[in-house]
């Protein structure tokens, strides 16, 4: 019987540009921030390359998050993070329709579960207003239960944040990648940056494949941004990976809540959230565990059990529903709480590090900010004629399987069609591995976790790759 390594069904990617090509911009790291920066520079007409050590986008910090589009009501006031969250939100609203990206305005409740937390609500409200988030309301115990009848009656009071919304954490950055490519951007996957040299004019980056030359390097290497940053010659910060574990419940639980249920935040983290997802599940998490390892995203049974219990306390009816998935993400926190963004003008090196947990929202704002930092470096030549549309796989958009002639459904839990799986295997922005395929299509992400379809999906991918 033929042995197939499920981790290497998709071939290792090679770059598709000339060996001595000199780029205006090299973006290191294809997480959500790197993809957004790539898009911005490509759109503005810069000759840009996106360099990524993995064989697909979102293989690091960006693969595991709570998928919320934040208003920035509780962001540290006056910081770059605050500015970029709000700018990122605005930008997302401008592009979502063109890209066919989901946006589900569920609103959020910051719920106080005891008197101590209740006393903090006013300060949160004032902070939010100060952060120019105007649509905030204080809700009483009765008002909470009217809005969220399944929530535990321990809820003492809450702030309703109107703007907080759900988006697709995976196809959003994918759309940025596609847009960049359609504007002429190049990609170099499976290229791990290992070193570099600046000759006074431009950079030559050493990679695990061929070297890449660029006038400006933008380091968006997430969990590795401190290591990559050392290439420029100085070490300015240290990444302290912060693990967040999550539990996803079956879509049977979907109607138990209407809003995102946020806790009263502490200094360190936003705390454990209960929210719907754009894919029709309920998500609980994350934890916040500082660790040394940049790769260990193992889940821990006891921690997951604890998350479940916390969620059951807040939302007792959740007990009657099954767990669909568990996972952990690593946030690239640094030794300070703020974003580590800076420019080294002499060496034409821009650092975008320490984007700890708000990257999904802030990425488009960050990209604009970085572009402006670098504005004078070359001539603008905006490309306005390209249009990118992605397959909206959220539960609230018309899905492929609801159309005629889709072929057949392969993943029955998530209703993913064979055509969707086949399409996701192809092109420069196609899946680079099985995880990437899952993120693009939702295949195998449902309650049976591949019990029914993993073998069939593997076969389809194998055939698609072989037949080109």
């Amino acid at each position: 019987m033929e042995h197939i390594d499920l981790n290497h069904i998709f071939p290792k990617r090679v770059s598709n540009f000339a060996k001595d090509e000199l780029f205006d911009i090299a973006v290191v790291g294809a997480g959500v921030v790197g993809c957004a920066i790539f898009k911005e520079f490509c759109e503005q007409g810069a000759k840009t390359v996106l360099i990524e050590k993995a064989n697909d986008i979102l293989e690091g910090a960006s693969k595991g998050n709570s998928a919320i589009l934040h208003t920035g009501f509780d962001a540290p006031p006056g910081t770059l993070e605050h500015e970029c969250i709000q700018r990122g939100y605005e930008e997302y609203m401008k592009i979502k329709d063109e890209y066919n990206l989901p946006f589900l305005n569920t609103k959020a409740l910051v719920v106080a579960w005891n008197d101590e937390q209740l006393a903090k609500l006013d300060a949160i409200l004032q902070k939010g207003l100060g952060n120019s988030v105007k649509e905030l309301e204080i809700l009483s115990h009765e008002q909470i239960l009217k809005r969220e009848p399944n929530l535990s009656s321990d809820a003492k009071g809450a702030i309703l944040v109107h703007g907080e919304s759900l988006i697709d954490p995976w196809n959003t950055p994918l759309a940025y990648l596609k847009k960049g490519i359609s504007c002429g951007g190049k990609t170099a996957f499976s290229h791990k940056v290992t070193g570099g040299h600046h000759d006074g004019k431009c950079w030559e980056l050493q990679t695990s494949q061929e070297p890449i030359k660029a006038k400006v390097v933008i380091n968006a290497a997430g969990l590795y941004s401190d290591i990559v940053d050392a290439i420029k010659g100085t070490k300015d910060f240290k990444i302290i990976p912060r693990k967040g574990q999550f539990v996803i419940f079956d879509e049977t639980a979907y109607n138990l809540i209407n809003s995102i249920i946020l806790p009263v935040p502490t200094k360190r983290t936003k705390g454990v959230v209960i929210t719907k997802t754009a894919f029709g599940n309920i998500l609980v998490g994350p934890t916040a565990e500082d660790q040394e390892s940049r790769t260990n995203s193992d889940t821990v049974k006891e921690t997951l059990e604890d998350l479940k219990q916390k969620a059951f306390h807040m939302l007792p009816a959740l007990k009657n529903h099954k767990v669909t998935a568990t996972f952990a993400g690593l946030r690239p926190a640094s030794d300070e709480t703020y974003y580590r963004v800076g420019i080294n003008d002499e060496k034409n090196w821009i650092t975008v590090g320490g984007i700890r947990s708000t990257g999904l929202t802030s990425s488009l704002g960050l990209a604009k900010h970085i572009f402006e930092l670098n504005d004078k470096k070359y001539e603008k030549n905006p490309k306005t004629d390209t249009k990118v549309t992605i397959t909206n796989i959220s539960e609230f958009a018309p899905r492929e399987y609801q159309k005629e002639d889709y072929g057949k459904i392969v993943c029955h839990c998530e209703c993913v069609t064979e055509k969707e799986i086949r399409d996701a295997c192809h092109g420069e922005s196609g899946a680079g591995n099985i995880s990437g395929l899952k993120r693009r299509t939702r295949a195998m992400m449902g309650r049976c976790q591949g019990f029914n379809c993993e073998a069939a999906v593997t076969q389809i991918c194998k055939n698609e790759v072989q037949n080109g």
């Binding site: 019987m1 042995h3 499920l6 009657n320 002639d405 309650r447 049976c448 073998a455 069939a456």
Partner: protein
């Protein structure tokens, strides 16, 4: 939208045998819906022997058994709609996604025979990393018998139910070496003889009373699993992990669509006639509880067919009282009684979560009305008898298990 008399969802042993029986009873306006490319259900990918002895007096492999069932249905002219995924149940209307587009049916009577699935790693909250090589027996069987792909070389099997031994056979079929079978409980979850066969003849170590501490991965490749016994840890090198058993009904659609859902069984509450409390809605086969052998589903399908006939002929609405069972019970069915309909001396069938000796006490409105001495195994069903006491509306029956001290 199409009006039909009977809709059967699921073309596995329960669904197809119900369809065959109903056809025999003269019901022609009948459609079976199946989401897969072929009819036959789970046996389609159980490549080993052991099927058909009671139904067809023939020893068949799973795929041949499935084929035989599907062929019988075709011979009898049963309308089986393949590649039809049920996406919504609302106001008595069934909505399917099919390659020809969305189709809607309004049946007088619906039988849900949706089957079961194994509990994957996620719902067991196992510690460790992620890998596509962490799978279930069902996935392994599909790799082996449908796609002919060998996903890894050395496996650890988690669990020791009957299906876990089927996983060994599928692994053998693929040329995968099984490094160990591990079981959290002190004894295996099936007949002891299987443990000795596995150890002595297949030379596979069987560890019982061990905890699965961690699945160790690197770059999404499984490296080993860490197990522990009495605080002592040990690593078993492997590149694949197979989670077996802990079957759970494929019942999310039922939970979303109907109110009377029983979370202990993870299925709809049903009477002794497989009737739910929603008018015209029947449930049978493995979706009523965890997985039982195919022949049980087959005979259940025949039985539910006669109940559907009664329903369609007499349109009787059941008078329902609930049965409750304590937390020692892993599943039980029926979970309700239709007191207008005979009980035939049988109250319910159940399984206990753990091996134990003790008694099951039967309470009627908090009054002890019967006991049954049991020597329970989690993999053996226990039938609970009922001596004919007249039942009235609003009566309540409760089952409690008391282990011998």
């Amino acid at each position: 939208m199409v009006d039909i008399n009977i809709a059967i969802i699921g073309a596995g042993p329960a669904g197809l045998s119900a369809a065959l029986e109903l056809k025999k009873l003269g019901f022609d306006d009948l459609v079976v819906f199946e989401r897969e490319d072929e009819a036959g259900g789970t046996p389609r990918h159980c490549g080993h022997l052991g099927f058909g002895m009671f139904e067809f007096k023939q020893l068949l492999s799973g795929p041949n058994y499935a084929k035989k069932l599907a062929e019988k249905a075709a011979q009898k002219g049963i309308n089986v709609q393949l590649k039809s995924t049920l996406i919504k149940v609302e106001d008595g209307i069934l909505t399917f996604s099919t390659p020809e587009g969305i189709k809607q049916y309004k049946p007088t009577c619906t039988l849900f025979a949706l089957g079961a699935r194994e509990t994957p790693r996620s719902d067991r909250l196992v510690s460790g990393g992620r890998s596509p090589n962490i799978i279930t027996t069902g996935t392994l069987q599909r790799f082996a018998y449908l796609q002919k792909i060998k996903p890894f070389e050395k496996a650890v099997i988690v669990g020791s139910e009957i299906v876990s031994f089927s996983a060994i056979m599928s692994a053998k079929h693929l040329g995968i070496k099984v490094e160990a079978m591990i079981e959290e409980k002190e004894q295996i979850e099936s007949f002891c003889i299987l443990k000795y066969i596995t150890k002595l003849f297949l030379n596979i170590p069987v560890y019982t009373g061990v905890k699965l501490e961690n699945i160790n991965t690197q770059d999404k490749a499984v490296q080993s699993v860490t197990i522990s016994k009495d605080g002592k840890k040990e690593d078993i090198a492997c590149d694949g992990v197979i989670f077996t058993g802990k079957f759970t009904p494929e019942s999310s659609m039922l939970q979303k669509s109907f109110v009377d859902f029983n979370t202990q069984n993870s299925s709809l509450n049903i009477t002794q006639n497989f009737q739910s409390s929603s008018d015209g809605v029947f449930v049978a086969g493995n979706v009523t509880r965890g997985a039982l052998a195919a022949f049980r589903c087959y005979f259940e399908g025949k039985k539910v067919a006669s109940k559907i006939k009664d329903y369609l002929n007499f349109k009787h609405t059941p008078k329902i009282i609930k049965i409750e069972a304590d937390e020692n019970v892993s599943w039980y069915y029926p979970t309700m009684l239709d007191i207008k309909s005979p009980l035939e001396g049988h109250l319910t069938t159940l399984r206990l979560k753990n091996r134990a000796k003790g008694i099951i006490k039967i309470y009627l409105n908090d009054r002890l009305v019967g006991t049954k001495k049991v020597w329970a195994f989690p993999f053996i069903s226990i039938s609970i008898p009922w001596k004919d006491i007249e039942l009235k509306e609003k009566d309540n029956i409760r089952l409690e298990f008391l282990a011998n001290s």
